[in-house]
């Protein structure tokens, strides 16, 4: 295994490169993904490597782009759509939720839609309310979509390769703040897939289970490391795919720790982490809980602009730390 440390942007680009080299049906379309290299630089030099047909710059037409990708997918291609900010999936929700997600089922299996929709999400860049959302509940609530939220470059690469292989539509949500930072683990060379729908136990522990995705995995990991010095042992689980959700490792962990905290950046109202809570609350491991389930989520507000406001709107490391300490100390 190599010890290459890549950023998430590099890892995602590598996965797309491999997929495009493997199969000529794979192509990318989106706004400014060509010469510009993508608003977040993710497609980078792919335009120069694969040419303007396979790295297809589109007009500013999110609904049209996703629809075109659906049509191309129905015709044997494997499109990867980049939506410049996840906020603008709003424009394309019909094609995402009413077309792509339903076609296979609704048409009785006659056709399927091997489509990947990649899009950056999340706050932290001072781009305010229309450029900073975490919209997982929109996608996770629609049967027929697979929803992936990678938390690190190595996972991003393997999961994206699996997503491109998948015969179903996959929404791939990349946190902007992760693009430029290397992960903790090296990114293997080659075309290693990580199957969708398998949760990862990032760190084992016995006092508290934390379930987190995306950027909250990093933050929770830091907290876990820090608190282990205080004798608090945290088990950290990253579902990676939030739909379908692999609950078995979560249930197992809760059985062991008896305490559960779920963390997400997006606002709590109807947040996808509530699915984790609901599953646990309805399962047998519920009986093992010795503490109420702690939910740590963004404030129920649009993301504000000013840095001092933006910061309070989403869970920070200090918040996770305080919450973790409190659960473990208060519930014995």
């Amino acid at each position: 295994m190599s010890d290459r440390m890549l950023t998430m942007a590099e890892a995602v680009r590598e996965a797309m490169t491999i997929a495009m080299e493997e199969r000529e049906e794979v192509f990318i379309l989106g706004e400014d993904i060509g010469i510009y290299g993508g608003a977040f630089g993710v497609t980078g030099d792919l335009y120069h490597r694969f040419g303007p047909e396979r790295v297809l710059d589109t007009p500013i037409s999110e609904l049209g782009i996703v629809g075109a990708a659906v049509g191309a997918a129905l015709s044997g291609m494997r499109p990867i759509v980049e939506i410049q900010f996840s906020d603008f999936t709003a424009q394309a929700m019909d094609q995402i939720a009413n077309q792509a997600a339903k076609i296979h089922f609704m048409l009785g299996g006659a056709l399927h839609v091997p489509l990947v929709l990649r899009t950056p999400q999340g706050s932290g860049t001072g781009a305010a309310a229309q450029h900073s959302q975490n919209l997982e509940p929109w996608f996770a609530s629609v049967p027929g979509l697979k929803v992936v939220v990678p938390s690190n470059p190595a996972d991003a690469k393997g999961l994206l390769l699996a997503a491109i292989d998948d015969p179903n539509p996959v929404i791939f949500l990349e946190h902007k703040l992760l693009y430029k930072i290397p992960g903790r683990d090296p990114v293997p060379e080659g075309a290693t897939r990580i199957p969708l729908g398998v949760s990862k136990v990032v760190r084992t522990g016995k006092d508290l289970t934390i379930v987190a995705t995306g950027i909250m995995v990093n933050k929770s990991f830091e907290v876990a490391e820090k608190l282990s010095a205080e004798g608090i042992s945290i088990e950290l689980i990253d579902p990676r795919t939030i739909s379908p959700l692999d609950t078995a490792p979560i249930f197992e962990s809760v059985e062991k720790t008896g305490r559960l905290m779920v963390v997400q950046e997006g606002p709590s109202h109807a947040g996808y982490i509530n699915e984790v809570i609901a599953q646990v609350s309805g399962s047998a491991c519920f009986g093992n809980l010795i503490a109420p389930i702690k939910r740590l989520a963004g404030m129920n507000i649009p993301i504000p602009y000013a840095p001092q406001l933006e910061k309070v709107a989403v869970p920070q490391i200090a918040d996770i730390e305080a919450a973790a300490r409190e659960i473990v100390k208060n519930w014995r």
Partner: protein, 333 residues
């Protein structure tokens, strides 16, 4: 007996072609009548959007298409489906919620698709199929398959953003796409006079640099000729064409329609422009078919529909087994 769905060519170019055109228009008419009847007798579920009066559009357009050419269709999609060559029994079975239905009973009228005849599906969403057809055309261009895509949609659909975004992409990328607007004068209760400030909806093409043409959508010959020209352009890499095919829906929009937004006189006027006798006169005039041959075709079409209803009614009902697994296509290992 089924007609050859692969037949292409001008409806007046041979007796075979004339027979095909007539048979398909009859099939559509009689399919819809059967559906109306089954609904009326409470044997069908949901809603229905009938295309009686509009048969010339899909029939004429599909005569310009190869089986490998692709279409996207609408909520009012039986005609497109039939004209592209779908199996009548499987269509009827779908409407009756049967296992052998095109969607196994999961989709119903608004979601019938047929991969074998290049039909990417009806669509319950007004305008939903248009970008999908653009994507099919994009794939055709990328793969150099030589196929074209035709998106059927109504006048009402032209005011959806989906139309706009797809039309522009097709224009700038010169996609092999035919934007086939069935202007039946109303989007539900909304007349084109109220919903547009255009004489001809084909003029909307001007906003994208797409040539537009308005044809008598009740004349299967005129429709064919326009479609054929558009298909030739598309196959030649010259890009999309917008065809406005002017027609009329005889029946209400759906089951719940009380027809309050139009007059009886208007409906009667349009019934006089029935595309079927319209075409029959032409073929008789030109001596392409005889009265007897025509009657035979009508008879055959009736039998085909009756047969389809019979087979569909007798087929096994869809069951809920496997619904959960049906959401995703299995990932092959």
């Amino acid at each position: 007996m089924t007609a050859n769905p692969l037949l292409m060519g001008h409806p007046l170019s041979s007796p075979e072609h004339a027979k095909h055109a007539l048979l398909y228009m009859y099939r559509i008419r009689k399919f819809e009548e059967a559906v109306e009847d089954l609904f009326g007798r409470g044997m069908m579920h949901g809603t229905m959007h009938l295309s009686i009066g509009q048969e010339a559009g899909p029939t004429g357009a599909c005569l310009a298409l190869q089986i490998t050419d692709q279409i996207t269709s609408t909520h009012r999609g039986h005609g497109h489906c039939i004209a592209k060559g779908a199996d009548l029994t499987r269509m009827m079975a779908e409407l009756l919620g049967k296992k052998i239905g095109y969607c196994g009973g999961r989709g119903g009228s608004m979601h019938i698709a047929d991969a074998e005849t290049g039909n990417l599906g009806a669509n319950g969403v007004v305008g939903g199929g248009i970008p999908i057809a653009a994507g099919a055309a994009l794939a055709a261009k990328m793969r150099k398959s030589g196929t074209v895509a035709v998106s059927f949609f109504g006048d009402g659909a032209m005011n959806e953003g989906a139309f706009h975004e797809a039309a522009n992409m097709a224009a700038i990328w010169n996609l092999p796409l035919i934007l086939f607007c069935e202007n039946n004068k109303y989007g539900m209760s909304s007349s084109t006079e109220k919903a547009f400030k255009l004489e001809n909806l084909a003029d909307r093409g001007k906003g994208y640099g797409i040539p537009g043409v308005t044809v008598d959508g009740n004349d299967v010959v005129a429709v064919y000729e326009a479609a054929e020209a558009a298909v030739a352009r598309a196959r030649n890499g010259e890009g999309p064409t917008l065809i406005e095919s002017v027609t009329y829906r005889w029946k209400g929009h759906s089951r719940s329609d009380k027809n309050l937004y139009r007059t009886k006189e208007e409906i009667e006027e349009w019934k006089d422009k029935d595309p079927i006798p319209n075409f029959i006169h032409k073929v008789l005039d030109k001596g392409i078919l005889t009265q007897e041959q025509i009657e035979e075709i009508q008879k055959v079409s009736t039998e085909q529909i009756m047969q389809a209803v019979k087979e569909a009614a007798a087929a096994e009902s869809a069951t809920p087994d496997g619904l959960l697994e049906a959401v995703f296509k299995a990932v092959s290992a």
